[in-house]
């Protein structure tokens, strides 16, 4: 599992991905960790297949008992089908996830972890002195969907928005936006169902000060590529399968 520290300040952001041991027939995912002095938040911790390498990678940064929070942007298995395993490994943790998916996500087993339902208008996750904003991203692509914004680190974890699929050894940041666009186009057109939802999200996100846009698949965007992505996505017609 490749590990990249993407922010270092009063707290840290670490990106995990490009797992070499991953079965070839499952989708590649990025996991993110926000690490404060005594706590650790896992953002979209991944599928059950990924649990062991992900846990092993996290243990470089935090002991098990300091993994106190999980966040699931939505209900898909590549996002959170590992929940049943985290549930057994962590004795004192909370899962922040969309309220509308609670009854669904509990199918993965969630007995010891406390389910903290996120209402439709979002909220915050407090991790010691760090306060993260939960940004609504409904219908992008899931009908109950959230992203996480860190105003201090200026990072937006954007779930499936900005996702792309490429070789396991590809770099973690976009280095040529024009080339990268073609790796994203079909995904966004096919998976994102609503132009209206997309417009509302872009308006909301344009008001945030973002240095890094961090999707759940593919490469992250930084600097000017963040604005390039928002402009490109703004102009894109989505929901093409109907």
């Amino acid at each position: 599992m490749k590990t990249t520290k993407i922010y270092e300040g009063t707290h840290q952001w670490i990106m995990f991905g490009r797992d070499e041991g991953k079965p070839s027939n499952i989708i590649d995912t990025n996991q993110y960790v926000v690490r404060t002095a005594n706590r650790c938040l896992l953002l979209d911790p991944g599928g059950a297949e990924l649990f062991a390498p992900m846990m092993a990678a996290v243990l470089h940064h935090a002991p098990v008992d300091q993994i106190t929070d999980l966040f699931a942007s939505h209900q898909d298995p590549d996002v959170i089908s590992s929940l049943g395993l985290w549930d057994q490994a962590l004795t004192n943790a909370r899962l922040h996830a969309p309220a509308i998916w609670e009854g669904f996500l509990r199918h993965y087993s969630c007995e010891s972890i406390e389910y903290v339902p996120i209402p439709d208008n979002g909220g915050t996750i407090k991790l010691e002195s760090v306060e993260l904003q939960i940004i609504p991203a409904h219908y992008l692509h899931s009908s109950g969907n959230f992203h996480v914004y860190d105003p201090q680190a200026k990072i937006l974890m954007s779930g499936d928005v900005g996702a792309a699929f490429e070789a396991p050894d590809s770099p973690v940041f976009v280095d040529n936006f024009a080339v990268h666009v073609e790796k994203m186009r079909h995904w966004h057109q096919r998976m994102m169902p609503s132009n209206q939802a997309k417009r509302v999200w872009i308006e909301r996100v344009r008001n945030l000060d973002i240095d890094i846009l961090a999707p759940q698949h593919g490469r992250m965007f930084r600097g000017d590529d963040v604005k390039r992505f928002l402009d490109w996505f703004d102009a894109l017609q989505v929901g093409i399968a109907v």
């Binding site: 390498p53 846990m55 470089h60 940064h61 935090a62 098990v64 008992d65 049943g84 395993l85």
Partner: protein, 204 residues
Amino acid sequence: MTNQTKSQFIAVASITSELSAVMVVAKEISLAAANAKAIAFRAGDKAKGFQPITDFINELAKETIELVTNINIYALVLYRLTVNEFQKTTAYNKFELAAKMAESDGAVYANTMQGPVDHARLSMQDCQRQFKRDVSQLLGQLEAVMHHARAARVIAANSRIEASQAGEYLQSLQAVAESVDKAAHTIHDNVQRCRIALSIYRNS
């Protein structure tokens, strides 16, 4: 999923399937008892010896239905336990793998995985013990059903003797005896299959 786990799931599922067939047959016995009672009533003195037998048959059918209903509830508990054991075993294997990976990569906090590994192992072993205990109890309940099936066969034999003295009602009452005997055979065979499927887990 290991072959052992697969077999365990199949064994537990097959109990429910076999027992639903037993339930149908037990209801048939109950119906046969009602039928026999009506015939014996019409036959009057000619079927005097048959009349108390019909009550036995009915009672036996009722008890069998009750037993099977309880066993089905128990089988559901056993199924949930199997699912639980599967989840605990999966967790234990994944935790152990994570611990090994973290250790071989030199992760600073690799040793903190030991707690979850130990806990998962204990939970898994608890489930295995509980499963064996429950299987033993279920086998005991299945034995009770077998006992009922054997009693039904004795009753069927007695019914044949009584039927032979019932004059023109001989054929009808023999048919009742036949159906009870056949039903008892079916119950015996189905329950026996359940016992064979489960017995390997009692001492495994």
